[in-house]
Assembly symmetry: C2
Homo-oligomer: 144 residues x 2
């Protein structure tokens, strides 16, 4: 239970940090240049749409691994911008229910074509055939 990482593991870790920073930086910059809000907004909106029902802030927290206080204020901004509605939760008076507004659905629809191209440019296009598969598998393990 206290063994040491081998050189390859250390390399993978170093590259994980750098690659995420690099690609995320590029995607965020390109999204902003195209006039869109930060990626985090898309992530939240997508999460809510995928759920297909009202979501609680605490669920956003867990799904996106964002600290609670950051979620709270990110939701503030998105509600203020009109992409989300936040209403008191019926069966739990501590909480709130989040729903996508029409503008929120629209944001997803408008951003996706650009975002999709950016994923291809900064990720897909750089990988060899089959590498996306092994990359996704390995990253999946890190999330368990």
């Amino acid at each position: 239970m206290n063994d040491l990482p081998d050189e390859t593991t250390i390399l993978a870790w170093a590259r994980l940090v750098l690659a995420a920073r690099s690609v995320l930086g590029a995607v965020e910059a390109d999204l902003k240049a195209a006039g869109f809000p930060p990626l985090g907004w898309y992530d939240v909106a997508l999460e809510v749409r995928r759920a297909g029902r009202a979501m609680r802030p605490v669920e956003i927290e867990e799904q996106l691994l964002i600290p609670q206080s950051n979620v709270s204020r990110l939701l503030d901004r998105m509600v203020a911008a009109g992409y989300l509605s936040r209403q008191p939760c019926a069966d739990d008076r501590r909480g709130f229910e989040l729903n996508l507004t029409l503008a929120g659905h629209d944001l997803l629809a408008k951003m996706w074509p650009t975002y999709r191209d950016l994923i291809q440019r900064h990720v897909g296009g750089k990988l060899q055939p089959g590498e996306a598969e092994t990359l996704a598998a390995a990253l999946g393990r890190l999330l368990d």
Copy 2:
């Protein structure tokens, strides 16, 4: 030049963002709990030690993919903490030369055993045999 990412690529991208956030968050939290400075400090110190010579701030920028103004202030903090020295550059009067102090070398030495264990716990220990290799390879492509 405008093809679309396949589902696997999109999954790899999503997991890249989440896995980096997850592992980085865990490592940073554990380092802090052990009384150490943020990982960025280690990265800078390691970069300078690896160079084996005085480094310029702009080199740190390029190697670590950190925005210029952030580098400037990160160096401020590390100099203030006594881990780095920053002195005017002889042959380029716009710039500065960075060197590790004794305390800086010491920081690397003191942090490494803990950091190394964290890499094993949060990365190495979660991967299947051989997976670190393919992970490092795929991430390397994203950095080109």
